[in-house]
């Protein structure tokens, strides 16, 4: 499943700047994300997390700098090896859970009827919606839709997952299930990049990047960030960096 070119570096972002008109969403940002880990992008609203993820899937093109995912410039050629979960649910609300997951399995080159059906079932069971598989998405609760959206992103077993706030609206029990599943995937060599606001997610990641105003203001393992700042919680560590950044800027 994981090919040799992704053994070391899954994502390489080099001095990337991106603007929407006058708004600078990313500011000379560089990141190197090794394969096979869970990487957390943390930061307040408007920090540039979604913009960064859209650059990685090729929906946006960097104005300056370069981006490489799985050793290639993002394009349709690598797209089927990426599982992308947008921040909004992005589902066909008239279709059933199963029809949604199956559609995204098909367009991501999961071929062969029986094999695909097995994989679709497995994924729907993973997000704990098998009993609701024939319901239209419109009849599901917000958190359930979030789970369908995640299922659509991971159904084709891609070696790289880009998940934009995947745990929003999930109940605590399911959060735990998801993180257990992510850890399993990491063991199989899958790289997972997750954006989030919650420090609960952050604690599950192997590596974190704190983002603010389109820049990475600190990065490291959760333990490292806590001890380096002398704080007891990740929240405090983040606030520490935000404040010290403000001090430096002033």
């Amino acid at each position: 499943m994981v090919t040799s070119d992704s053994k070391q570096v899954a994502v390489d972002i080099n001095e990337v700047t991106f603007r929407y008109g006058n708004i600078r969403a990313l500011d000379a940002l560089s990141l190197e994300i090794p394969a096979g880990i869970s990487f957390g992008l943390l930061g307040p609203n408007g920090a540039g997390k979604t913009t960064l993820i859209r650059l990685l899937v090729g929906l946006l093109k960097p104005k300056h700098g370069s981006v490489r995912v799985l050793g290639e410039v993002p394009s349709r050629r690598v797209a089927y090896r990426i599982g992308y979960m947008p921040q909004l649910h992005s589902l066909y609300t008239e279709l059933s859970v199963q029809q949604n997951v199956d559609f995204f399995a098909k367009i991501n080159r999961l071929s062969g009827g029986a094999e695909r059906a097995r994989r679709v079932e497995e994924t729907i069971r993973l997000v704990d919606l098998w009993p609701r598989r024939n319901d239209s998405v419109v009849k599901l609760s917000g958190g359930m839709r979030q789970r369908v959206s995640l299922a659509c992103a991971i159904v084709h077993n891609p070696p790289l997952l880009l998940l934009d706030e995947p745990t929003v609206g999930l109940d605590p029990e399911l959060r735990v299930t998801f993180w257990e599943h992510f850890a399993n995937l990491n063991e199989q060599g899958v790289t997972i990049i997750v954006s989030s606001h919650t420090m609960d997610d952050a604690a599950h990641c192997d590596h974190l990047a704190f983002m603010r105003d389109g820049r990475v203001i600190a990065q490291g393992g959760p333990e490292e960030l806590r001890s380096d700042t002398g704080q007891t919680t990740l929240e405090d560590a983040f606030l520490y960096y935000v404040r010290s950044g403000e001090r430096n800027a002033a």
């Binding site: 349709r76 089927y80 992308y84 947008p86 029809q99 367009i107």
Partner: protein, 245 residues
């Protein structure tokens, strides 16, 4: 670059519409209601006979354009377009998939209108029924593509609604639907030559009123096929891979 996912997308489009019972019912009922009202407003059958080809062409174009345009726009507003564009499917896959998917519904709708007009409203016609239908198929294909193309210029439903009169009214007034083109000023006739509905109306009139065959109306057919090809190319080109800009 081969459109290997077009059928997958077409299948999904069909499933989506079929699961929406109310939309399905409206697709069948609305054209019948509209045609009934028009039929009743022409107490003299002979007048209805004369205007029927123009009506059939206009309805085929308009309903197909609307159905496709709005549905395609929804794909963007509900965020699924973002997912599609981030996947391995090509823009041609998307445009062809939609063309195929909507074509089936537009075709059903057109067939209902045609059969209703002929058998319930009792409109007299010359020419072969199957030739009339084939000619309409060509109109629909162009209209479906036009819907996709125009919807790429609208960011939301409100903007899309503004395009509807812009597409509908000039064609209805300048293409001889209501009064003969020959009675209009020269420059309006000239504009009319660039509108697809003119060829739809002319061709269908030739078949239904004069009893001509598809071969006789080759010129109109050719223009409509050209329009279909042009709009699919344009729709493919304007479909941006990017989002939100």
């Amino acid at each position: 670059m081969l459109p290997r996912y077009a059928f997958t997308i077409a299948g999904r489009v069909c499933r989506q519409l079929l699961r929406d019972r109310r939309t399905m019912a409206l697709i069948v009922v609305v054209p019948i209601v509209v045609m009934t009202l028009i039929g009743l407003s022409f107490p003299e059958g002979i007048v209805l006979d004369r205007i029927a080809p123009a009506l059939l062409a206009t309805m085929a174009l308009f309903f197909s354009f609307l159905l496709t345009g709005i549905s395609f726009l929804r794909e963007r507003s509900q965020g699924t377009m973002e997912r599609l564009m981030a996947s391995s499917v090509s823009r041609l896959d998307v445009v062809l998939g939609y063309l195929l998917g909507f074509f089936i519904f537009a075709l059903t709708q057109t067939l209902i209108i045609l059969l209703f007009t002929i058998y319930v409203l009792d409109v007299n016609y010359n020419g072969d029924l199957w030739q009339i239908f084939v000619f309409q198929i060509v109109i629909i294909a162009g209209a479906v593509n036009l819907g996709i193309f125009i919807s790429t210029f609208a960011r939301n439903e409100f903007q899309m609604v503004q395009f509807i009169p812009l597409i509908l009214f000039p064609q209805v007034f300048l293409c001889g639907v209501i009064w003969p083109v020959e009675q209009m000023p020269e420059y309006l006739q000239w504009i009319g030559r660039f509108l697809p509905l003119k060829y739809g109306v002319d061709g269908l009139r030739d078949i239904m009123l004069s009893g001509m065959s598809l071969i006789d109306v080759w010129f109109e057919l050719l223009v409509l096929v050209g329009f279909t090809v042009a709009t699919s190319v344009l729709a493919t080109l304007t479909l941006r891979r990017g989002v939100g800009g």
